[in-house]
Amino acid sequence: MPRDYIPILIFVVVAAAFPIVTLLVAKLIRPSAPGKTKLEAYECGIAPETDTRGRYSIRFYLVAILFVIFDVETIFLLPWAIQFDALGLFGLIEMLVFLAILIVGYVWLFRQRALKWA
């Protein structure tokens, strides 16, 4: 049994080694010229003005809630996908019913303007 996992082990080792090796190689061959301006934000947002621990807008929470709901529902797709052949047409119809119920919720959210940012 453990032998079956050797490919996975190799995969993990290669995956872990790849970033380390590339970064090391880059460090060795690139020229080094540190400077203050290089550390400043450049075309990637504005310099932070306040503490990062400030309050987030409540809208982030709303989006997070909606995300959690629709995200978790997908775990019901997984068992169906695994048993797709065995369940056949019945499984497909059942899944469509399930998705239809989700879509009712989504349409309702949309009409409530819960997805609008402003």
């Binding site: 065995a86 019945f90 499984g91 059942e94 009712v104 349409v107 309702w108 009409r111 409530q112």
Partner: protein, 494 residues
């Protein structure tokens, strides 16, 4: 694997639930797309009531099938339609219909009249329907959570009222906690028996030796979870706050329907899965029933808010109903069913009147707010008196028969001391119920206090009259109701 995974028989079993979900989703869509004016929001009650009619029709079918061919199950034995399930489903239909008709005016007065309200009422009912008919741990858990999640939102439906928010939060935290404990008990039951079917679990539990640690843990966690749901002491703390903070129609719905559904779940689990361990849980539940009656009745005496008072009284009622389960004999179970049936009408009547007192810009919920009600609305005051007397258990009103059977049952089992205490508490409860009646006639001379006023519409009036008539009818001519209750509960559980 079977070729047919969902047969016509399964559909027949699930029909009430499917109908409720379809109508619920339909209301969400029609409310979002068709109803544009605030003033038209009450029209959402029409599909909600239509759903009740449709469910009632399928229940008539179920009842006919059960009477002619006995109980039948569907979905590989995970749902079972028997007299028990049909009876409780009737209770939910009644409770939901009454909630719908008294909501329109109340939610309008609160300024939070929206279509989701009716959809959530139906979704909660779908969950309860599953709880009554479920015969499998997974199905029961899903039903319980469908009900509970809908109720959390309904309780907090008044978004701009802090009381409502806080009540919902409290309900959510304690409700989620109790669901978690119950699920933990379920998981251990699954481990003990290797099955989620209640029949299989009952066999596995019976095969276990007494004092088995895993069984004990399952019993404790399941009991605590269920006792939370029925608001039995010492797990009752959420009830008064939730009842007070929730919109009044929701309070009535929670106190009647959620209590009945939780009792249905409790009876199912304790009388099937845990039946062989009865010696372990009967004294435990007996003690809890006594504590519950004590706390409920004495705390109700000190309340000034009517909704809080009714909350404590509902805790006390849960104690009486628990006694029926503790007695465990036929009379006791019949008493539980009759009690729950009578409770629907008398409690809804009381809450409908409290709801009618709520007018725009005025939250009248204190006992003092009932002062002088008789001088304004003598007819409704008489109805209120009927409900209060019935809640006390005075014959010949509906509330009497529930108490009668439960007393009979505990006397038959020889628990004389318990019966004495229960009887004393009836006297205590008479004190606080009568206090509310007295307030209605009270109007002090010379005081420039405005007498209480009721704001009625057709729905509230119809609900009140129906509740009062049925409270009287069950009281005066109880036989058919007792037969119905007895037949359904006993046939299923023995």
């Amino acid at each position: 694997m079977d070729a047919i995974l969902f047969s016509a028989a399964d559909f027949h079993v699930l029909k009430p639930v499917i109908l409720l979900c379809l109508f619920g989703c339909g209301i969400l869509i029609t409310d979002a797309f068709l109803i544009r004016n605030r003033a038209d929001r009450w029209k959402n009650a029409i599909p909600a009531l239509a759903a009740q009619v449709a469910v009632a029709a399928s229940l008539v079918q179920h009842l006919g099938d059960v009477r002619s061919g006995g109980a039948f199950s569907g979905l590989n034995g995970s749902m079972q339609v028997d007299g028990f399930a049909v009876f409780f489903n009737w209770l939910f239909v009644l409770a939901a219909s009454l909630a719908i008709v008294i909501s329109a005016r109340y939610m309008g007065a609160e300024g939070e009249h929206r279509g989701e309200f009716y959809a959530l009422l139906l979704f909660a009912q779908a969950g309860m329907s599953v709880m009554a008919a479920g015969y499998d741990l997974v199905v029961l858990f899903i039903g319980l959570e469908t009900m509970a999640l809908s109720f959390y939102v309904l309780v907090g439906f008044l978004r701009d009222t802090r009381r409502s928010n806080e009540a919902a939060l409290k309900y959510l935290i304690l409700g989620a906690f109790s669901s978690g404990l119950l699920a933990y008990g379920f998981s251990i039951l699954y481990g003990i028996s290797g099955s989620t079917n209640l029949g299989e679990i009952a066999k596995a539990v019976a095969a276990r030796s007494e004092g088995d640690l895993a069984l004990f843990l399952a019993l404790i966690t399941c009991s605590v979870g269920l006792l939370f749901k029925i608001a039995a002491a010492p797990f009752h703390m959420w009830a008064p706050d939730v009842y007070e903070g929730a919109p009044t129609p929701v309070t009535a719905y929670v106190s009647v329907a959620s209590k009945a559904a939780s009792f249905a779940l409790m009876l199912r689990i304790f009388l099937t899965a845990f039946e062989s361990a009865a010696e372990a849980w009967m004294p435990l539940l007996g003690a809890i029933a006594l504590v519950t009656m004590t706390i409920g009745n004495f705390a109700a005496v000190t309340q000034t808010n009517v909704k809080r008072m009714l909350a404590y009284s509902s805790i006390a009622h849960a104690g009486y109903i628990l006694l029926g389960l503790v007695a465990g004999n036929e009379t006791g179970l019949r008493g539980v069913a009759v009690y729950l049936l009578a409770y629907v009408f008398m409690n809804y009547g009381a809450f409908a009147l409290v709801a009618a007192l709520r007018r725009e810009g005025e939250a009248a919920e204190d006992i003092d707010d009932f002062n002088g009600l008789y001088h304004r609305a003598p007819g409704y005051t008489i109805l209120l008196a009927i409900f209060m007397l019935s809640l006390t258990g005075i014959p010949p009103l509906a509330g009497f028969y529930g108490k009668y059977f439960i007393f009979l049952a505990i006397l038959r089992e020889g628990y004389y001391l318990v019966a004495v205490f229960a009887a004393i508490y009836v006297a205590v409860s008479a004190f606080y119920y009568f206090r509310l009646i007295r307030a209605c006639w009270l109007l002090e001379e010379g005081e420039q206090q405005k007498p209480a006023q009721l704001d009625m519409n057709f729905g509230t009036r119809a609900a009140l009259v129906a509740c009062a008539l049925l409270t009287l009818l069950i009281g005066i001519y109880p036989q058919p109701f007792i037969d119905l209750a007895g037949e359904s509960v006993l046939a299923a559980l023995r």
